[in-house]
């Protein structure tokens, strides 16, 4: 461990911009990523997360601005930087015709690793992602969750210092997601720096030490999940669902209630309040009859709604 007091910056961006023709995907963002942290880019589809990931992965040259990764220039030294990165892309790029083991072999060769090293690491990595018993089966018939785990194992074959994950659990069922989260958490414990994008707030809350909320290519906010919720959301949220025909009238009437803020969604009304039960009692007392009601804690989803006026998964 070097300077414990001053964490080492692994990725540094200043005014980082990416445009495609007249479309600006990433609009002048600044950030520093430190060794050992898990950093998340949270945002809806099209927010610029994947474009940012591709620039960090040295496969997409920035249009303008500064970017340095591991102290080097991604355009000039892309190959050398990539040798020290692991990438878990949004869509698996596994070779379906090959076996689990062969996929790791091919990948290890891309990194110029000797066969012996690949063999040793393959055994460890398959153990790590709990695929050791499937080493010789073909990839094609594996479930989505197993494929994802194999992709993660493959991305670790070069013992990367930074692991880049683009939507690591999108499309997985809840059980498979939890297994992936657990493995990523263990990697973080081992000191691997994680950079991930997600549009799942629970994923961000589970994994990220620090995150940015991204929208239209810019950062709408940044901080730890807890601090973002504290800053942008009330302690509790009261969710009310009304008969669709009474929805608008109810929304009108609820405007007079003592809430920090309210959001009228297509199917629900959210009241941001300090004490949900108290306000719910007041709602009932006023003669409104919600079909369902729910008092919950504020989440990153609420933060996102507040910052962008849109829901994450829209």
């Amino acid at each position: 461990m070097l300077e414990r007091s001053e964490p080492e910056v692994l990725v540094r961006a200043r005014g980082l911009t990416k445009t495609f023709g007249s479309f600006t995907a990433v609009d002048g963002i600044d950030f520093d990523l430190y060794r050992g942290e898990a950093f998340g880019f949270l945002g809806p589809n099209g927010a610029g997360k994947s474009s940012t990931m591709r620039m960090i992965g040295c496969v997409s040259p920035p249009t303008s601005g500064e970017l340095s990764i591991l102290g080097r220039d991604p355009v000039r030294d892309g190959s050398a930087i990539r040798a020290r990165l692991g990438v878990v892309p949004q869509d698996d790029t596994l070779d379906m015709e090959l076996t689990v083991r062969e996929n790791l072999l091919v990948y290890g060769r891309y990194f110029g690793l000797p066969r012996r090293v690949i063999r040793e690491r393959t055994a460890e990595l398959l153990e790590f992602v709990q695929l050791a018993d499937r080493a010789n089966s073909k990839v094609d018939p594996l479930s989505g969750g197993l494929k994802r785990r194999l992709t993660i194992a493959r991305s670790l074959i070069n013992e990367p210092e930074i692991l880049i994950l683009d939507e690591p659990t999108t499309g997985l069922d809840p059980q498979a997601r939890h297994v992936v989260w657990d493995r990523l958490f263990r990697l973080k414990q081992r000191g691997v720096t994680l950079i991930l994008t997600t549009h799942y707030m629970d994923e961000a809350e589970q994994l990220c030490d620090r995150l940015v909320v991204m929208d239209h290519g810019r950062f709408a906010a940044e901080g730890s999940p807890r601090s973002l919720i504290a800053r942008y959301c009330s302690p509790e949220v009261l969710e009310l669902r009304f008969d669709p025909q009474l929805h608008e009238a109810a929304a009108d009437k609820l405007k007079d209630f003592p809430a920090e803020r309210s959001e009228v969604l297509a199917d629900r009304i959210l009241l941001y309040v300090a004490d949900g039960d108290e306000v719910l009692a007041a709602v009932h007392a006023s003669g409104l009859e919600p079909l369902t009601s729910l008092v919950r804690r504020g989440t990153l989803e609420d933060v996102f709604l507040r910052l962008t006026g849109r829901r994450l998964e829209d």
């Binding site: 495609f20 992965g57 496969v59 997409s60 040259p61 030294d77 892309g78 190959s79 050398a80 990539r82 040798a83 020290r84 990165l85 990438v87 892309p89 869509d91 790029t93 596994l94 070779d95 379906m96 015709e97 090959l98 062969e102 072999l105 091919v106 990948y107 060769r109 891309y110 990194f111 110029g112 690793l113 991305s155 070069n158 013992e159 990367p160 210092e161 081992r190 000191g191 691997v192």
Partner: protein, 272 residues
């Protein structure tokens, strides 16, 4: 976590980086080679059997003066070698390249490693060259078995055929990586390769064509490949060494330009 021992790639390392990509294709090929061998052998057997013996028997009953006085089998066999190289090049450089972007996405997996687009391209091109060399070897074996070879110079027909294949594979792969829809390949097969296969002095000598068309045929790469392979297989190459050099130069130029272009088109396609 120690970084993998890997220096910045210099031009000296280009070769080894491309070989890494090539070895990926070898691993994949080890799984499927059996099925590919069958078509590699059956193809030339069918062609040489049907054309050389079937059609050849009819042709040989008349004067074969315009064929240079050799049997139709001996005339057509080297052309099948050259056009076979072209066809292998097309099938290896079209859908496999497209599929590496759209279907199994091999290129995107490789891209996240130290390999650069040019390495990915050259590695794949090496594999195409290997497949062309394999298929040409099979055709030559069948030619030999059918007694279609007239000269020991035929050993030079082998590299000539492989060069013909590369003259197609490199530019086609360079283009295929830019293709958006797979139907584009059908047009190239139908309006590009089929006419080339028919009108490059393959099945009949170009002297049978009207003068205007003949000039057009001279400009096509397959004609040069066929002429080269035929001259070596029949042993007539010694009579026209300058012509042979011309054919080689034409084909080599295509292969070099294609390799140069591919490094650029791959980069443009993969580094967006």
């Amino acid at each position: 976590m120690a970084p993998v021992s890997l220096a910045v790639p210099s031009s000296a390392q280009q070769w080894s980086m491309s070989v890494r990509a090539f070895r990926c294709w070898l691993t994949v090929y080890r799984r499927i080679w059996r099925s590919s061998i069958w078509s590699s052998v059956l193809g030339p057997v069918c062609y040489l059997g049907a054309l050389g013996f079937g059609l050849g028997t009819l042709v040989d009953k008349h004067s074969t003066a315009s064929l240079g006085g050799v049997s139709y089998l001996a005339f057509v066999a080297p052309a099948i070698l050259a056009s076979g190289a072209m066809n292998t090049a097309m099938s290896e450089a079209s859908f496999p390249v497209f599929g590496s972007l759209k279907w199994n996405r091999i290129y995107f997996g490789a891209q996240a490693s130290p390999l650069r687009p040019a390495d990915i391209f050259r590695g794949h091109l090496m594999f195409m060259a290997m497949r062309i060399a394999m298929n040409c070897a099979f055709v030559l074996l069948v030619m030999w078995a059918f007694g279609a070879i007239r000269s020991a110079w035929v050993v030079l027909a082998y590299p000539a055929a492989v060069l013909t294949g590369l003259a197609f594979a490199a530019p086609i792969a360079a283009w295929a990586v830019t293709v958006k829809m797979e139907s584009s390949f059908t047009y190239v097969f139908r309006f590009g390769l089929t006419p080339l296969m028919l009108f490059s002095g393959t099945f009949f000598p170009l002297s049978q064509l009207p003068a205007g068309l003949r000039v057009l045929a001279y400009a096509t790469p397959l004609w040069h490949g066929v002429a080269l392979c035929r001259a070596f297989s029949l042993g007539t190459a010694v009579r026209d060494p300058a012509g042979m050099l011309g054919h080689v130069a034409y084909l080599a130029a295509l292969a070099v330009v294609g390799t140069w272009a591919g490094a650029r088109t791959y980069r443009r396609r993969l580094y967006v």
